[in-house]
């Protein structure tokens, strides 16, 4: 029973363009959502998060959008850079408990 899903295993984007990574969830109890970035042979690195009381959070080139009615969140990276090439995981939690991760989307930003 996969409560957090990232349906696109990979995404390829040209440098300078927008990258949009998507994530869907099924459990309406989730109240906090996070995006992690992972390079090969390294641990996931926290990128940006959003509480369920918000619908948008922005940090530099990274913006996360939350649509609670659709149980959907997305991460926008503008402009995309080659160094953004990595696997991106979305994760969800409720009441400060365990994180439930999606299966990741591999982003490739081509120069």
């Amino acid at each position: 029973d996969q409560q957090v899903k990232q349906n696109s295993p990979s995404l390829s984007v040209q440098e300078g363009r927008i990258s949009i990574l998507n994530c869907d969830y099924t459990n309406s109890m989730f109240d906090y959502f996070l995006w992690y970035k992972k390079y090969p042979a390294e641990g996931p690195t926290f990128l940006i998060s959003i509480s369920s009381i918000k619908d948008k959070n922005e940090d530099g080139r990274f913006t996360v959008f939350l649509n609670k009615s659709a149980k959907h969140l997305s991460l926008h990276i503008v402009p995309s850079q080659p160094g953004d090439s990595a696997v991106y995981f979305c994760a969800a939690s409720w009441q400060g408990g365990k994180l439930i991760f999606g299966q990741g989307t591999e982003l490739s930003v081509k120069p």
């Binding site: 906090y32 996070l34 992690y36 042979a41 390294e42 641990g43 996931p44 690195t45 926290f46 998060s49 696997v87 995981f89 939690s93 400060g96 408990g97 365990k98 994180l99 991760f101 299966q103 990741g104």
Partner: protein, 112 residues
């Protein structure tokens, strides 16, 4: 300065052996976790400790036993290793009641 560190980074061993993975965090966090990333790349929580007390124990075989000697350390001991235990194991930590978790670099375990 490594915030969350794990040793060893790589571990190759035979079926039936017993092995341990160590984790240390210097962030002053109260809560520590073990995650397993399987061959399909799913990251799944195994255990969580808060101030040396076990608070999350997912459906993990009894062969896996976490031990927290103090709140900065959470070790994972695995008995009678099986082929299916081959995976990457990540340690993480967070401040109590805060959702953001910080991960170690992972330990790549290969059971032959």
């Amino acid at each position: 300065d490594t915030a969350v560190s794990q040793t060893p980074k790589y571990l190759v061993t035979q079926m039936g052996n017993d092995k341990s993975i160590k984790c240390e965090q210097n962030l002053g966090h109260d809560t520590m976790y073990w995650y397993k990333q399987d061959s399909k790349k799913f990251l799944k929580i195994m255990f969580s400790y808060n101030n040396k007390e076990l608070i999350i124990n997912e459906t993990v075989p009894n062969r896996f036993s976490p031990k927290s000697p103090d709140k900065a350390h959470l070790n994972l001991h695995i008995n009678s290793l099986e082929l299916g235990d081959s995976a990457v194991y990540f340690c993480a930590s967070s401040q109590v009641h805060e959702e953001t978790q910080y991960f170690g670099p992972g330990t790549r375990l290969l059971v032959l």
